[in-house]
């Protein structure tokens, strides 16, 4: 590799760094009520069967393609059987969400928006998304409050 190529590589690296600022929160923490903590990386989640939702939302323009793991599968896989979970965001904002709502209403823990990972600035790394367009019930304050973005952890509440 010549110096010119090195310069280009450095430039690409610099531009890349500038274009996608640090993503330090690419880990999801699951805490069960017995105190067991499970840490899932982006890779772990991406290896699970994925679910895609094509829907609009009040935070995005037009229909978007959300890809992630359905909470049904996530909870089954990691034996989350509480009635309610606390979903927390990177800024420590948290919401108590009924597990039934997440399971039965088809919510997913999104990790890709339109095929790309989401930066913190884009509400990543993880975002709770419901199929808003499929039912007016999901277009209410309650479901918007459940739709936590910049998710860092999901904990059993009892």
């Amino acid at each position: 590799m010549n110096s010119a190529q090195k310069m280009i590589a450095v430039l690409i690296a610099l531009v890349g760094f500038y274009a996608s600022p640090a993503i330090a929160g690419g880990t999801l923490t699951l805490t069960r009520s017995d105190g067991e903590v499970i840490k899932l990386s982006m890779q772990d989640l991406m290896e699970m069967p994925a679910t895609e939702l094509k829907t609009s939302s009040q935070w995005t323009e037009g229909v978007q393609n959300f890809r992630g793991v359905s909470f049904d599968l996530l909870f089954d896989t990691y034996s989350i059987d509480a009635d309610t979970v606390r979903i927390s965001a990177l800024n420590d904002y948290n919401v108590m969400v009924p597990v039934d709502a997440l399971r039965n209403d088809g919510a997913i823990l999104t990790y890709h928006l339109n095929g790309a990972e989401m930066s913190v600035r884009e509400k990543g790394p993880f975002w709770v998304v419901f199929p808003y367009d499929s039912d007016e019930r999901y277009q209410t304050d309650t479901y918007w409050a459940y739709s936590v973005w910049q998710v860092k952890s999901v904990d059993e509440a009892d």
Partner: protein
Amino acid sequence: MFAALVLFVVLYGVLSTALVRQLDDERFIYRENFVWAVVQVQRQYLIVQRDIEAALGRVGLSDEVVENILLEYEIMVSRVLLLRQGDGFKVLFTVPEVSKTIEKLESRIEQIDATLATITQPEEKLSELYRLLEPLDEPLQQAVVRTTNFVSVYNANNISVVKTDIQTLSYLFFVGVIVMAVLGGFMIRQRQKIFAADIAAQKARQEQEVIEEAADYAKMHALGTLAGGVAHEINTPAQYIQNNLEFLSDSFNDLVGSIVRSAPDQPAYLQLEKDKIEFIRQEVPMAIDESIQGLNRIAEIVRGIRKFAHPATDALELISIAEEIDTAVTLTRNQVKHIADLEVTLQSEVTEVTGRRNHLSQALINLIVNASQAIMETGQRRGKIDLLVNDDEDNVYIRLRDNGAGVPEELRGRIFDYFFTTKERGVGTGQGLPICRKLIQDDFNGDLTLSDDYADGAEFVIRLPKPDHAAISNRQKEFSEGPNDLNDLLR
């Protein structure tokens, strides 16, 4: 009234719908989230500052600490971007301090991103981040304060608008309640009126039935009262008919006994004195004529009774005034003849009126009997009753005048009241005059009145409207307009 109610309902519906829509409107969402969003930016800003200060104050700087600080910075940036990109926050940018602060933040973020991209040394990176962020401390605080003020005023204004609308709705509701109460009262009153009308109609029907029964009773009462006189009227001719028949029988026996026949084959002859023969020749035809007259008289009286006693029909028909008067005079003759002279004078060309049979004669009988009783009470030797029939353009008048004592002034207003009578118990029922008046009013559309200005006794006037000849002829025309061949047959 109904239109007012409909108008109220429509107005209420439109206003309440408008209010609900207004509440759904984006502008009317309670804007506490504005404060939350701006405070979140300030919070993240302070966290970044605090963490940098802590990191730089420590000896040694791990990658994890730097990464965490940069993550906090990213979170702060995401909060700024959320404010800038969220449609719901557009209103917030009408507040100058907020707008300027966000613009400063954005430009400063661009500057920080560009600067950090060129720095590899962690400590320097954090120092630069701290330095570049520091001037934003005061503007962010101002933005939070101004946002809080703005949200407070914004919500207060919205609440005021909604409050005014709710007040309007309240007033409208009360107006509606009043309108409905008035309408309800009106409907109840209408129902009461209908109910009262039903009751009145029922009462009128019952009254009519009572009057009809009373009229029948009065008729029978009159017949009973007249029965003695009528019997006498019949008895008188019957008496002389009997005498005449006895005379004729005797004469016949005399004639048969005077027949003489010398031999069976010889002609027979009368062996009677000449005076006797002359007497029979003159008296027998007279007796026969007198008897026939007597029988005619009886037949006339019986016919009168039969007519009078005949049940009245509901049908209105043309009634002969003269026949009704005849019936009345015939049936009251014995009642009157010893008290007064009854003179009937017909001065009207109209001979018929429309009404119900017998009811006119019933009224006349009542008036004639009253007149004779009035005359009798005066004790005069011979009274006078005039029955005069005349007319004007519209009506026929039957005036019955007597030269009795007349009706005292104080009783004039009461003689047509039911159950009012001046007669002794058992003589009068107090229903005669009122029933007569009712019959004349109902059945003839006329009236029975007592003349105010008749001085020689009393004058009762029966007014009977002349029959509408035009209407009758029209009815007859309609009746005759049947099939042509039938008309031909009738011609």
